[in-house]
């Protein structure tokens, strides 16, 4: 049973107050109707499911009801940090991760 620090309530709470909404930082295409079936399928169905560091979107459902991100390890279940949706510093870190990923192309 996880102990999750809600960045909005600013204290740790038991996992049963939360609801996981899947992988985080997935952007809805700005013009869905302009996407190809493949692009739309990627957005809708495909998730990275890595072994190791993963960012997920969670809601403090039985609590403040706000959504936030969890950066955690899928192997050890360690939670590195939780942060609010508008956390700018994480945005930078994330862009860096993405650009690294792109270097290796589809291998990752």
């Amino acid at each position: 049973m996880f102990l999750i620090h809600c960045p909005i309530c600013n204290e740790p709470r038991s996992e049963d107050e939360f609801h996981c909404a899947g992988e985080g930082h997935i952007q809805r295409p700005l013009d869905p109707m302009a996407t190809s079936d493949k692009e739309w399928g990627d957005y809708l169905f495909f998730r990275s499911n890595p072994r190791g560091t993963y960012r997920e979107l969670w809601q403090h459902t039985i609590g403040c009801r706000k959504y936030f991100y969890i950066k955690r390890n899928t192997e050890t279940y360690q939670i590195y940090k939780t942060y609010k949706l508008d956390d700018k510093s994480e945005r930078v870190a994330l862009d860096k991760e993405h650009s690294n990923k792109n270097k290796f192309g589809d291998l990752l």
Partner: protein, 212 residues
């Protein structure tokens, strides 16, 4: 632009039934070790961003209260109690029967009538039950019901948390600390639960109160 109206009949002889009506016409349960009561208040749900000065000023004008400064905080004065629920949601408790008057007053005090002035007020007095639990077993009853740590260091008076309780969702609050000078069990908690769940929670508490 918003629909706001009196929800209580002008004819005061019209019978009102609180949440616990499902159980019995009594709104108390107890044994030698605990006391559980339903207490009636007017409940106003307020949605507003802290940056909305115009609204917070109106709220202050009417109630004398500022929005809680930190998360999970409860602020109160003699007439009103205001709970932090989320960064843009607060619960205002007022005396029974004053909810419509207060809602109207706050709305009237808002100077900026531009539609971009974003807030919401909602009378939810029928939607939730306010339960008061006290006695020597109050602590163990709550520990059997929620995984939240209710130790005074974690849940002091003046803090309210929305958490799981008997598989449902409640707003849990310590309302009185244990008085070390008296041997009597002066500890007291409040539990605000949604009406449809209140019967279940009530029965759960009564059951938990049967044993230490």
């Amino acid at each position: 632009m918003y629909n706001c109206y009196q929800q209580t009949p002008s004819d005061l002889s019209i019978k009102k039934q609180l949440s616990m009506y499902h159980i019995s016409t009594e709104i108390k349960a107890s044994n030698a070790h605990y006391l559980l009561e339903e207490v009636e208040y007017g409940h106003l749900n307020i949605r507003v961003g802290r940056e909305n000065r115009c609204f917070t000023q109106a709220l202050h004008d009417v109630t004398g209260l500022q929005l809680p400064k930190t998360s999970l905080q409860v602020v109160q004065n003699d007439e009103f109690r205001l709970y932090w629920i989320s960064p843009d949601e607060f619960l205002l408790l007022v005396a029974v029967g004053r909810e419509f008057e207060i809602e109207k007053k706050i709305r009237a005090n808002i100077k900026n009538t531009d539609s971009a002035n974003h807030y919401a007020i909602l009378n939810v007095s029928s939607a939730q039950a306010f339960l008061k639990l006290s006695g020597s077993r109050a602590q163990s009853i709550i520990k059997k019901s929620t995984a939240y740590d209710i130790h005074p260091s974690n849940l002091p008076v003046g803090k309210a948390v929305t958490t799981t309780f008997a598989k449902t969702q409640v707003i849990l609050c310590r309302t009185k600390e244990k008085d070390l000078n008296t041997t009597s069990n002066s500890e007291e908690y409040s539990i605000i639960v949604r009406r449809s769940f209140s019967d279940y929670v009530w029965r759960w508490i009564v059951d938990a109160g049967k044993r230490e």
